[in-house]
Each structure stands twice: as C-alpha cells, then as structure tokens.
C-alpha cells in the first residue's frame, strides 16, 4: 500500500482539492470583492470627494456671502410680501404710472410649506392695475424687468381710450426656500459654469429698487430673512 502509486495520486488529489477549496477559492472571491471595492472607492474619490475638496478649497466665504446677498435680494428665501409692495410702488412711481390698490389676499405659506418647498421655486401672485400714458406704461413694463427683486407679469391686459392706458395683470414674484439640511458628505458639488456666471452678472445688472439685506456684519446663513412680517 505504501509503495502504491494510486495512494500517492489519491493523496495528491485530496491535497489539491483541499487547497483549492479552503484557500484558493476563498482568496479569489476575496480578491474579486476587494477589486470591486477599490473601483468603487476610486470612483468615489475621483468623481466626488477630490473635486469637492478642490472646489471647497477654491471658495471664499466673502465671495459667497456677497453672491448670496445679491441673490437673496433678487430671489429671497421667504415670500416677503412687504418687499413686493415696496418694489411695485417704487417702480410705479419711477415710471409715473398710477398704481391701483395692491392686494395679495391669502398666501397660505406657513413655515411647514416653506420648509417642504426647500429648493422649489414658489411665487407670490399680486393682481395689479395701473393707469398712465403709453410711454409711462412702457417704462413701467421695462422697469419691472430691471427690478432688483425679480418679478414678471402674466395675464397682461391693456385698454386704451386714446390718451391713457389702463394696464391690468398679475405680478408673479418668485421666492426660493432654501434647503434646511445639507446633503451627505459624499454628495458631489458642481462648479459654477459660464452660464451660472452670466446669471450672476444678470442679477448684478438689476438695479431698480432693491431692498438690500446686506449689512456690514453679514454672515449669510445666520440671517433670518423675512421671518418677521411687518404686515
């Protein structure tokens, strides 16, 4: 038996099977898993984390605060109805049109709605009427497009008696509640593109009757915009 080649072959086969089953197969599985993990981590690092770190390192708080101040003026985080009234009245006065009674009615934006709407554009709709001659009415429409708090008209209707033009429509004034929570650490951040810079420049060109929120000690996120409503 000891000199039997069959015995040797048997021992050899059993050893091979044992080594394959107990060592090689689990190691191959482990290597495959580690390779997949490496690919995942490389993708996470190269596509998300490193660009995010680089982007964060290129940001300065002062620049961000100044952008937020300009954007907050154009598109506040809260309805701020009082600033809508103030803007419309100032625009009408500048254009020398006579503005009818402004009435917002019931808005129904409670705090929960605003929090739920984080990141979604919402609007304050104000029916407006004005009376003025043609050049005044055109000036009013032009000034609406230049207002620091962005607004636009809808359902425009003009009636003329030959001298005066009666304008009626709905001023649609948007606001954008900001998200109340930050995303996960791994969530990528996209850099500002050329188009985004154009919009910032466009906002900077809006130059009529803004209500500035910027104060010398402005720190962006700490400001409680519009929460106190004088009306």
């Amino acid at each position: 038996m000891r000199q039997s080649p069959l015995f040797l072959i048997l021992i050899c086969v059993i050893t091979t099977i044992l080594v394959v089953v107990l060592t090689i197969y689990p190691w191959i599985g482990e290597i495959g898993w580690m390779k997949r993990e490496i690919a995942t981590r490389e993708a996470l690092l190269n596509d998300k984390l490193l660009p995010k770190v680089n982007l964060l390192q290129s940001l300065t708080e002062v620049e961000l605060d100044s952008s937020i101040a300009a954007l907050e003026e154009a598109l506040p985080s809260f309805p701020q109805e009082w600033s809508v009234f103030a803007s419309l009245e100032a625009l009408a006065a500048e254009s020398k049109v006579e503005l009818g009674l402004l009435n917002i009615g019931s808005l129904g934006f409670d705090e929960a709605t605003l929090l739920e709407g984080g990141g979604r554009l919402m609007t304050v709709d104000v029916p407006i009427t004005s009376v003025g001659d043609l050049s005044q009415t055109v000036a009013f429409l032009k000034n609406i497009e230049r207002a620091k708090r962005v607004l636009s008209l809808a359902q425009l209707s003009l009636g003329s008696d030959g001298e005066e033009i009666r304008l009626s429509g709905i001023a649609i004034v948007p606001f954008l509640p900001v998200p109340s929570k930050l995303g996960p650490v791994d969530e990528p951040l996209e850099e500002l593109k050329v188009g985004d810079q154009d919009i910032l420049a466009q906002v900077a060109r809006l130059n009529l009757y803004g209500i500035s929120f910027q104060s010398p000690d402005f720190t962006g996120g700490d400001v409680d915009y519009g929460k106190s409503d004088p009306f």
């Binding site: 091979t16 060592t23 190691w27 490496i38 690092l45 209707s157 998200p179 466009q202």
Partner: protein, 183 residues
C-alpha cells in the same frame, strides 16, 4: 541484436523493478504538482496582499477626504455654495421663461400707422397669443399694420378675427390674434 538481449532476471524481480519505476515516476509527478500548487498559492497570496494594501490605502484616503469635507468650515462653505447654486439655477429658468412685454408693447405701438388706434391688448389663455383690438379709418390702415407686424421678428403670425365697419361712425373696428415668437 545486441540491444535486445534476453533478460535473465527472475520474473518477480522484473515486476518489482517495473512497479518501483512507476512509483518513482508518479512520485516525481506528484511532487511537481504539489510544487506547482504551492507556487500558485504563494503567487495568489502575494497578489491578495498587494490588492489588500491598495484597498486599505484607498480606504484611508476616502476617510481622510471625508474628514476634510466634514469640517465645520467646509460644511458651512458647502451650505452657502448650495444656496448660491440653487438660486442661480432657479433664476436661470425664470429668466428664460420671462416675457419681455415692454419690448413687445413698444414695438407694437411703433407699428401703429397714423389714423389707427389701439383699443385694447389682451394676453389670451395661451401665453404667446395676444388679442389686439383697434379702430381704423379704413382697411388700408389695417393692412399696413398687419404687414408691418408680420415682418417683425417678434411676431410669428397675425390673423384677423373681427372686421366691423361702422358706417354711421365712419370707423372700422377690428380684432387681431397676434402670436409671438418664443424669444
């Protein structure tokens, strides 16, 4: 004939020698196979160690970068940057959809020929369609007005929806449906 001599050894010894030879051959093959197996195991072990250390380095790098992002200062910057991005995105869409009424009204009134007067201009339920109502002294003025409107690059189409000639008042009341280009 010299190479093929007669083996004079007894049959048992010959069989034993053959068995011993086979056993030695199988032994060598088994040893070779086991050596090969050991080489494979050793190679795999080294590769596994290499991949493992690569994975650990990457894992450590991920943890480092996460902790860099997760500092209070960077999270504050991220929050502010997110607000800037969201506001810019929303404003971009808003500016794109905003109608420029001033240009339209200015252009429209400049196109009015002498003797033709605007009574009303109303945006219909379809935002790009306006209903223009006016009065003119004659059809020629209305034709001139329509021709000028059609040539204007802000207007896609113009159609007459009402022509009412009031003989007693000597005037022509007309309505037009003006469709604006999506600019």
């Amino acid at each position: 004939m010299q190479g093929k001599g007669v083996n004079l050894l007894p049959q048992e010894i010959q069989e034993q020698e053959e068995k011993g030879l086979t056993f030695r051959k199988v032994s060598v093959l088994c040893v070779l196979e086991l050596v090969l197996l050991a080489v494979i195991v050793l190679g795999l072990y080294r590769y596994r160690e290499q991949i493992g250390s690569q994975w650990q380095i990457l894992d450590q790098e991920v943890l480092t970068q996460r902790s860099v992002i997760n500092t209070e200062e960077n999270r504050r910057l991220e929050g502010k940057f997110t607000v800037v991005k969201k506001k810019i995105g929303a404003l971009g869409e808003y500016f794109e959809q905003r109608w420029h009424y001033a240009t339209f009204l200015d252009g429209l009134t400049k196109a009015l020929p002498a003797g033709l007067q605007m009574i009303s201009l109303r945006q219909t339920e379809t935002p790009s369609v306006f209903e223009f109502s006016g009065q003119a002294d004659n059809v020629g003025q209305v034709n001139t007005f329509i021709d000028d409107l059609v040539q204007w690059d802000e207007v896609m189409s113009v159609s007459v929806t009402l022509l009412d000639y009031q003989i007693d008042k000597g005037r022509l009341i007309f309505n037009l449906a003006i469709t604006r280009e999506n600019i």
